[in-house]
Symmetry: C2
Subunit: 185 residues, 2 copies
């Protein structure tokens, strides 16, 4: 079945300090026209930082849109022109203070395909050493190192319920059972 929607017109409907909303007119597969509204996002990274004792480095942050704190894996937006694997190193260090000797690229996932072009690149970081965290101005982050088994238990109880983190746990499972090898970077 031909499913492609072709862009007829594209405009920026809202340009905020952080969010940019595009509003496009498209030609549907049946020839009709429709509008598509979506967020333009620069892309992001997420890091599964696993220490030698099997603890996962997590952060606790207040997530204003949802109005509560979340325990999640370190993550952040890619700066303009920045290679994603460098974003991963930067975000892990800034948010948690950890640096890693070994990095593997695990995969890319799209968190919000209904209304955002965001993609998240996932990395596994091992060989961790702790220095000092340097969060961005206005960013308040608490670091927690939790046994991986506890993170899994919490995720099944609904206490770890950030999708980005759950996708990370899915890939970490696959890496641990040998079905996902990852790419050394």
């Amino acid at each position: 079945m031909e499913l492609t929607e072709h862009t007829l017109q594209s405009e920026t409907a809202y340009a905020g300090g952080f969010l940019q909303v595009k509003k496009d007119t498209v030609r549907l597969p049946d020839g009709k026209e429709a509008n598509r509204e979506y967020i333009r996002h620069p892309g992001a990274v997420a890091v599964l930082a696993l220490d030698d004792a099997g603890h996962l480095v997590m952060v606790r942050q207040y997530r204003y849109p949802v109005g509560r704190t979340f325990v999640e894996i370190p993550a952040g937006k890619i700066d303009a022109g920045e290679a994603p694997h460098l974003t991963a190193r930067r975000e892990l260090r800034e948010e948690t203070g950890y640096q890693a000797d070994e990095w593997l690229f695990l995969g890319t996932a799209y968190p919000c395909i209904g209304y955002s072009d965001e993609c998240i690149h996932y990395y596994l970081a091992r060989g961790l050493t702790l220095s000092e965290s340097t969060p961005d101005e206005g960013e308040f982050v608490e670091t927690l190192c939790l046994p991986l088994a506890e993170v899994r238990t919490r995720s099944l109880r609904g206490e770890v319920c950030d999708s980005k983190t759950l996708v990370g746990l899915y890939w970490l499972d696959a890496w641990q059972n040998g079905s996902l090898l990852g790419e050394r970077i």
Copy 2:
């Protein structure tokens, strides 16, 4: 560490046909002020529909924000006043034509906590029977029934890369190995 951000002011910065952007002024934990922009979303459901032969019912859809088709689990937005488990039944039937005898609630995840309040409720549907699909006007969806093992393999190759679907596979793993029981609904 106190992480809560308190709302000082809230406005609708953009009200489109589909997306609503809020722009709030908040008091940060250190007493400073900051702006928070985010999407208001009605919430959604996603359905893992597993047939007796171990096939997962998937849909292929063009996702305009990303500019490509995705193979994903059936999902959709909750209508105003609709109970999520009824949305799940409705979306599965509308998108794929399948109805299910047995429904389990698996859990809730937040796909986009940086800039959206969306939550997705996940359901497992079994005891499937096929009637006729009735997609919404302007919605073009192809149904695929894939062996679950193939879906997993594709996800590890990056071919199934929608986060909502990967979270579903994570919980389906947990349900299959007995660590997640689900709630009968």
